[in-house]
Symmetry: C2
Subunit: 256 residues, 2 copies
DNA sequence: AATGCTGTTCCCCTCTAGGGAAGATTATTT
DNA sequence: AAATAATCTTCCCTAGAGGGGAACAGCATT
């Protein structure tokens, strides 16, 4: 297996960075004008203007009366990403089912550059609000999805990631270093599912099961809920649900 | 109302163009390497490499064993776009309903830079295959969605668009110029719904109703199907369906 | 061990692209 | 309606960004 570096080496292209800064601003707030963007990103109006024209020509954004906004073109890109991941339909339908039958939050995540990225999320009837969102990243060591993925990927890759992590304690329960994490991963590997016991967010617990494929993991599927409802017994019970869902997804992964 | 130019003036940023060329290649095919991209886009490996590192740092793409692929970050962007459009939930549920009750393809589109962009698509039981896809653009003058939107937007904007169109005949029925188009728009405005009678694709007919808001149009909702099933009577019948769906969406558009 | 792939780094030189400022256009004010 | 103040857009100058070539490094295959 090729050794991947998760640090960022090499040169950066400044104008590309500027372009994505613009896109990021537009992601948070639409109908922004040239002047406003120039002020916010600390560039001259002419610079921003040229960028906007470039992005506009590429149909990344549209110009409307009251400013620029991101275009639907991005929806097409997102679709391509979903298709490339493969098995999106099975995954989403299993996550939906899980959310419905448990009433909680169900999610599917994969590893990207040593972090957990959410591919799909469904919220059940009594689900709590969380800040997790499709497409964003979270640390691997503080989430059930991340730890579960780590526990089942080829050990060479697991080590790469574990060693490159900078550990930050989000709560008093957060794993604080490699040794502790390795121990936890062992437990998960043996038990077959991973738990997040208020390690990422105070008051929230999760259970996750890996979706395996040959000698590696495609991702993991999880359920999240408030500690009040997520007793040890309930978690064990829920672990059966996630394992079953994971299994269904695995069975539908013959090709791709 | 501000006069918008739909032609592309001003300077372009070359490196941003290169970056999006890379993204476009990656959209069609994942796990592409540096060398391959350099060949395909006709740039040196070092150039492509720097770009890839930049995009990687921005989490636009991920580097895996067998090459680069677009990251889930794009799903997050797509979500922002949907949120910015507003009323996405009502729109998608109405389109779903429409597809289900008619068994055909139902779509919702908006205008972007004088073209029709698809925001949402649902396919019913007996739906035919089409190349339309969420996020992509089609001409306004050859689609029921586009013509319907044109028919109900402020006339100043309609003119701007109609005049800037370059007319291409996709089928023998395609509208061929401004005069013909204006006449058609009049009919649509009076009738309350628009029709595409094999004007965009041979063998396909569509009906669309506008989703209005104050003095302008948010977009339009349509049903598409094979001419064999879409007799004039059926179309008139279906027009009621789309008008009803459009109305439901309108009623849910108080804010935003 | 040798060859042929990849990805990565280095350096040079050109011309890109960022910035300032002035000109257009539209909006707001009086 | 004229005047003012915002925008957006264009133009030009010049520093340094970034594209390219080539050499290097790391794997894989033979």
């Amino acid at each position: 297996m090729t050794v991947r570096k998760d640090d960022y080496s090499g040169r950066r292209i400044r104008s590309v960075t500027i372009a994505f800064n613009i896109i990021e601003v537009l992601q948070e707030r639409n109908h922004v004008g040239v002047t406003e963007l120039a002020d916010e990103l600390d560039h001259s109006k002419s610079t921003i203007y040229s960028h906007l024209q470039t992005l506009r020509e590429r149909s990344i954004l549209v110009q409307e009366d009251n400013g620029y906004r991101l275009s639907l073109r991005l929806l097409d890109m997102a679709n391509s990403v979903r298709e490339q991941i493969g098995n999106y339909d099975v995954i989403s339908s299993e996550v939906d089912k899980l959310a419905e039958e448990t009433g909680e939050i169900a999610q599917f995540g994969i590893e990207e550059h040593g972090r957990t990225s959410y591919l799909y999320k469904a919220t059940g009837e009594q689900a709590v609000e969380t800040r997790s969102r499709v497409g964003i990243q979270q640390p691997m060591y503080s989430t059930s999805l991340g730890k579960t993925i780590l526990a089942f990927m080829p050990s060479s890759r697991t080590e790469e990631i574990v060693e490159s992590i900078e550990y930050t304690s989000f709560t008093s329960q957060t794993v604080t270093g490699p040794q502790e994490l390795y121990a936890e991963l062992d437990v998960i590997a043996k038990r077959g599912y991973g738990i997040d016991d208020e390690e990422n967010i105070e008051g929230l617990r999760c259970v996750a099961a890996p979706v395996k494929r040959e000698d590696t993991v495609l991702g993991a599927i999880s359920i999240t809920g408030p500690s009040s409802r997520f007793t040890d017994e309930r978690i064990e019970e829920l672990s059966e649900h996630v394992k079953r869902a994971a299994n269904v997804i695995e069975l539908n992964t013959k090709f791709s």
